[in-house]
Symmetry: C2
Subunit: 231 residues, 2 copies
DNA sequence: GCCCCCAGAATATGATCAAATTTCACCTTG
DNA sequence: CAAGGTGAAATTTGATCATATTCTGGGGGC
């Protein structure tokens, strides 16, 4: 009768990594990061068994994570039980560009109506880190900081559905963006993030939205150009 | 709708029956239809084991289907491992309305540039069936035909990403739409579908897009009004 | 060159483990 | 004495794993 687990959860405040979140969630986050930041190339095949040993996880969590990512558009169900990273066509990029421009500019508009000085400062800090990554030619760092900038901004918009949609869209062009940056580097940006921050400090939501639309348009244009040659 | 079990091993006499699609896909489609057409109410709890016996399927297919639907926004992961049908807040409806207006009007515009007379006729046939359902007070039929109208239209737009997004959005307000229709009936529509078809025959994409935007706005307004009282 | 057979991977099942909510008895309190 | 709250046990439900089955694709034999 005294065989109950007494030693397990005594006062441990657990320096352990998250014992709280389930395995399929961890696998999902890991795969998501790999796709967002370009560790998986467009067209690359993804197998369940490959991931089970690569991530040291069981089969069921990997299966569920893959299902979610397929639903996100981050992975593609190539008919015959095969799963791969999607390759973007020019038409796909065109669609993504349209949707991103409308949704993300609206998110930026809404965020600008709610952000306080502290939040804007945090955004600026991310942008500075982004500049450092560009100067250093750190492609991975650039991708991470660029995503952080947008993600942090959208988190302030108080619009969970649109923020979720925007997040999903990033998963679709993450691999391709990585390819383009690896091919041509990270320069060639007249940084619109500065415009966004400036307009935010002035309290001009329309200017913020316009700057965001330009930022998105530039980004998608770069992807379009970069993929035009080959692929 | 008592879905009898053992839909998996249908006889080999019918080659159409579906020996090709896996079980988790079937479960996904069934659940998707139940959500879209309001067999599940907002706020209702969804359990894995409940679905396994209700649909006569195994546990793994049900789990994967639920993951996909959570990713679609059709189901909600209520923190402590519980899954339920989301309840829409007014802010949610506002977001959905904005996104639907932009995406679906663009889809309608693109579709109108590509549709031929046969496709338009098919659309009109759906709209006639829709009118019949309204006249008969057939709420389920109304929901099905209304979805068919939009779905068929978007399938002609040659824009898979946006069509996919639109489909996902429908899953979010399907249950609430059902509640509203069950509460107030299906009348009160000055039918914008007629305007869409008319503008399409005339070859006026902008008119088509505008009519679609109004149709969406009316629909979301109705949901907003209908949910205002309770819930 | 075509067909059959085999290997490998994905799908599906059931069992087992862990967690959370619920139930219910017992104690405290008005 | 009755009513309400607290705590642990029990049931319900979700998560994970090991295993069996099925399907796809390719290679060898005819």
């Amino acid at each position: 009768m005294s065989t109950t687990k007494t030693a397990a959860q005594s006062g441990q405040t657990a320096p352990d990594e998250g014992p709280k979140l389930p395995a399929h969630e961890i696998v999902y986050q890991q795969l998501r990061a790999q796709i967002l930041f370009g560790e998986l190339a467009p067209g690359q095949a993804v197998t369940i068994q490959g991931l089970t040993e690569a991530l040291g996880a069981g089969m069921t969590p990997v299966r569920e994570a893959i299902r979610r990512l397929i639903s996100d558009g981050a992975l593609m169900f190539q008919g015959n039980r095969r799963v791969s990273v999607p390759v973007l066509s020019p038409a796909d990029i065109d669609e993504l560009s349209f949707v991103r421009k409308t949704i993300e500019s609206e998110l930026a508009r809404r965020a600008s109506l709610r952000m306080n000085a502290v939040q804007i400062a945090r955004l600026e800090a991310i942008d500075i880190a982004l500049d450092r990554a560009i100067s250093a030619g750190d492609v991975a760092g650039y991708l991470v900081q660029n995503y952080s900038f947008h993600s942090e901004l959208y988190a302030c918009a108080n619009a969970p559905i649109m923020a979720d949609l925007a997040d999903r869209l990033w998963l679709r062009f993450g691999p391709s963006l990585r390819v383009v940056c690896g091919r041509f580097g990270t320069q060639s940006f007249p940084d619109r993030h500065k415009d966004i921050i400036e307009a935010m400090r002035r309290g001009e939501p329309e200017k913020v939205a316009q700057a965001m639309e330009k930022d998105v348009a530039q980004g998608m244009e770069q992807v379009s150009q970069g993929l035009g040659g080959t692929n």
